[in-house]
Amino acid sequence: MKNLCKAAVFLVLGVILFCAVIQKPFINSLDRIEQAVANFYEEPKRDLDALYVGNSRVYTAWQPALGWHDYGITILTYATPNLPIAAYDYVIEETRKRQGDILFIFNLPAFNASYVKSNDIHYTVDTMPFSLKKLRLTKELIDINGADGMDTLEYYIPFIRFHSAWKELTERSFSEKADGMKNSVYYPAFLKKSTSVASEFTDDQLAEIEENALVVQPNEEELVETEVEIYDEMQAKENLRNFLDYCEKNQVKVLFINPPMTSIEKNRTEVLKEIVQERGFEIIDITDASEIGLNLKKDYYDNVHMNIHGSIKFTKYMGSLLLEKFGFENKHGQKKYRSWDRAYEKYCSVIGPYVMDFELEHALRSTKIKSVKGLTLTQYLKYVYLKWDASSKAEGYRIYRKSNRADDLSWRCIGEVDAETCVFMDEDAVLKKGKYTYTIVPFCETDEGRTFGNYSTKGTTIDIITVQSELEKTEE
């Protein structure tokens, strides 16, 4: 009997150890998806204006931290690569428990996906906290997927699939905390295919950035093809009708969005749009990308997903629209929302290397002001001396700097001079050995405000030797 008790204790302890310690880092290795859920649960209670729910097209479009910075609104995303429709009611109920009766935003084309792939189940349920409802949802998704027998076990014990990811575990996999970015995204494809300066970074630096986003992206072309193959209009309509029934029954505040999409999708979504309108639900139609200044070539990293530039434009446009439509309170300066300020700071630091200067992305721009030429850099002991040729129409210049040091990867404005002064002495903290890159941004003042001209995103680089050794040489 004593031995039986011992065996039972061993077993129970083992199960606890497994669930609480061993399995967790492997689920965390889902990284972005894990973060999407972790950020959702870390959000203080009753501080959201809305939740934007959906698939990869949601998190590559809406940047919550930027929405906060620009409009003082708190709209978080809850999105996984292909969040099944069947999971929507789960998300709504979880949200209502924590955030109250807030607005839920859904992309209408998402209802076209009537299938649930194996990975979709993992992405959806693996990171959800344990509950009976989660088990029921898992079962429902498995039924839609069609898996049976032993093949279903991996959805209840995700370790079965993900244990082989031990090679990809990082320090962050063992961290319980969310990244605090409020689901503003920064994964490689999203960043790399932007008109970025990423190519200038060393492999180590890129690896460091990529390490923060290890999930391998699905091949979107394949995804689109698969969608075409298994698109089921009847099922899509039924899914939407069921969901609308649910929303009506539970008095859920819903807003549907028709984002910019491909022509095939437009045709399909038209049918769904009619249903939504018939039932009297609100829908914002922004299928015309040019309406919000989106350039399909420059602002997307594939045929359906926006890149960092597109997401900034989308967030700016949508934020203003939502503010106008729903009259959300601007909560800037309120103590309760400090975490949103911090999220924005983090967001800027991460995307900094990818957009020349975050500030400039929002500023007025004119291609008539030509970029400066002939930038030369010279080291004078502790300082770097910059000299360049004047640019026509420029009324002043901003000097930007970045380095290859981990804490200084993004462009930072270090000074401003007038049009006559085409030189600058960087006296600021050039103390450590490394590569420092500078670029000069010309600007002029117009009636509309300060307008920035062209500039070199690549910049000019100087190798700084240690100041100490240089000083010693001088003394000798």
């Binding site: 083992g14 061993i22 991996e154 370790f159 699939r161 993900f162 244990h163 082989s164 031990w166 090679k167």
Partner: protein
């Protein structure tokens, strides 16, 4: 339902629970039912082959037993017979029982040969008959799991009855368990009736330490199979599938990796079988005795797949060596080659035949035949050149017992075995020869160690680092076993906290680092196919 799958774990857990909860007299029934369920799940209707072999062996065994008994009784009832008459009577009885034995062996072999070698025979027949304008249909059958193992098991049972070493089993149901006992049916070890049967039929109370020891051995088996063999198997598959890409030491390394994979796979499987049996209170014979510590090929074969080696020795080598033709041959060779060689030549021939049979037993392919010939050839040539080696060693003043020499011998044995295994693993003799010759092409080129060749074999650096640690651990454990240190007893002496930490550590290491689950393709045991 392979050994290293979750359903198997569930299956053995359920079996063990039943085994220890039913009345002790019924324990063997639980094992019998579990064995037949296991066999059915793996081979479905091919279970009929096992049942046929079991029935044939059981009744032929009884027949032999009856004849022996009848002969004894008849002899007892005739005290008037002279010694010469008694001898003649015994010879008559023996002749009769021998005929029955041969019948039994043929029945058992017919199932094995019919199912396993039919393809070879039909292809051969077709090759010949096609010259005369006839076509012989190609015969290919699915193989029931473990057929090569239980056939040898059945033959040894019949021969042992004939030799008077064991009494024939009287209970068909119990004998069915002996023939189908599921932990060993997949890949051995090949048991002897005397050693296993009674253990299976006896009752075994729950013994905490024995059960934990059994589970530990199973865990060790899982570690060797899942962490080492199945991971190494990825690289081996790539290397053997792309032989032209490799040369020099990298080609030899490929064969060495296969050696590591095979050891992890086979000995891992045996450890699982032995560990599981220990849980049930049944001791299976060990099938490996640190084979890579062998200093010669001959020693290697005494340490590798021991139960097959012992079987071959008892049922092929000795009967052959002591047969009349061989004794006559011995007389003749002594006259021609003198006492030293003449005396040994017949046993060399028997050894050679044994290895050819070992090769053929592995499968109906020429590569296995070649594998057997190579191993037999190496051993026989070793014997033949024994005196020459002794002279060389003496001239070179080599100290037989020195560590350096022993290590050299071990490495040499491993390298020779690796060369031979190119035929075992290679996809046909031609490719094996190609691989063998490629070892001598740019043999000095060690760039594969640093130029990323290893990480293009399907394994990344982390896998190789893990493999280095895991193989070192297995080597260290083997070294301790070589020195007769019992690790499990050592663990049992530790404080419960440390002990449990070791158990949890072992379980989680296997779960995390093992190659299993849907992210990988499932790999069965390599010896299942034999």
């Amino acid at each position: 339902m392979a050994f290293v799958t979750l359903p198997f774990i569930a299956f053995i857990t359920l079996t063990a629970l039943l085994y220890f909860t039913v009345p002790k007299k019924g324990q063997w029934i639980v094992l019998l039912v579990a064995s037949y369920v296991f066999f059915w799940l793996n081979s479905q209707f091919l279970i009929l082959a096992l049942m046929a072999a079991t029935a044939a062996t059981f009744y032929v065994g009884q027949w032999i037993g009856r004849e022996i008994q009848r002969g004894k009784e008849a002899l007892k009832s005739r005290p008037d017979l002279t010694q010469a008459e008694k001898k003649q009577f015994r010879a008559q009885t023996k002749k009769k029982t021998k005929r029955i034995l041969v019948l039994g062996i043929l029945l058992d072999l017919s199932l094995l040969v019919g199912l396993k070698y039919a393809d070879l025979f039909s292809t051969g027949a077709n090759l010949v008959l096609s010259h005369f304008g006839y076509n012989f249909p190609r015969l290919r059958f699915l193989l029931p799991i473990g057929i090569s193992f239980y056939t040898l098991q059945a033959i040894s049972y019949l021969v042992d009855i004939y030799r008077g070493k064991v009494e024939p089993d009287r209970n068909l149901a119990k004998f069915m368990l002996f023939m189908s006992y599921f932990p060993q049916i997949v890949q051995g070890p090949i048991p002897r009736y005397k050693q296993l049967a009674q253990q299976l039929y006896d009752s075994h109370p729950f013994d905490y330490q024995r059960v934990t020891f059994g589970i530990q051995l199973m865990l060790w088996g899982f570690f060797k199979k899942l962490v080492i063999a199945d991971r190494m198997g990825i690289a081996v598959k790539y290397i053997f599938g792309n032989i032209p890409q490799f040369h020099g030491l990298m080609a030899l390394a490929g064969a060495a990796f296969y050696g590591i994979q095979l050891y992890g796979d086979f000995s891992g499987g045996i450890d699982i079988a032995r560990g599981l049996s220990q849980v049930f209170g049944i001791e299976l014979a060990d099938n490996f005795k640190q084979p890579y510590f062998s200093r010669s090929i001959e020693e290697f074969w005494r340490r590798w797949h021991i139960s097959l080696g012992e079987w071959m020795k008892d049922y092929i080598f000795y009967p052959l060596s002591l047969s009349k033709p061989f004794l006559n041959l011995s007389k003749k060779t002594r006259k021609v080659f003198g006492e030293y060689f003449g005396k040994r030549l017949p046993s060399f021939l028997a050894t050679f035949i044994v290895f050819v049979l070992v090769g053929v037993w592995h499968g109906p392919q020429l590569k296995y035949f070649a594998y057997g010939i190579i191993n037999g050839g190496i051993i026989v040539s070793g014997f033949l050149l024994e005196k020459v080696y002794a002279r060389i060693k003496k001239a070179a003043r080599i100290e037989e017992t020195s560590l350096g020499w022993r290590v050299f011998q071990m490495v040499r044995t491993f390298v020779v075995i690796s060369f031979a295994r190119m035929f075992d693993r290679g996809d046909g003799i031609r490719l094996a020869v190609k691989m063998l010759t490629s070892v001598f092409r740019k043999w000095w080129d060690l760039s594969f160690l640093v130029d990323g060749t290893l990480t293009k074999t399907g394994l990344v650096t982390a896998d190789w680092v893990l493999l280095i640690f895991a193989v070192t651990l297995v080597w260290a454990v083997d070294l301790l076993h070589e020195k007769n240190v019992s690790i499990r007893e050592g663990i049992a002496r530790q404080h419960i906290v440390l002990r449990w930490l070791i158990y949890y550590g072992a379980i989680f290491i296997i779960l995390i680092f093992g190659v299993w689950g849907p992210a990988y393709s499932k790999a069965g045991f390599m010896y299942e196919q034999f």
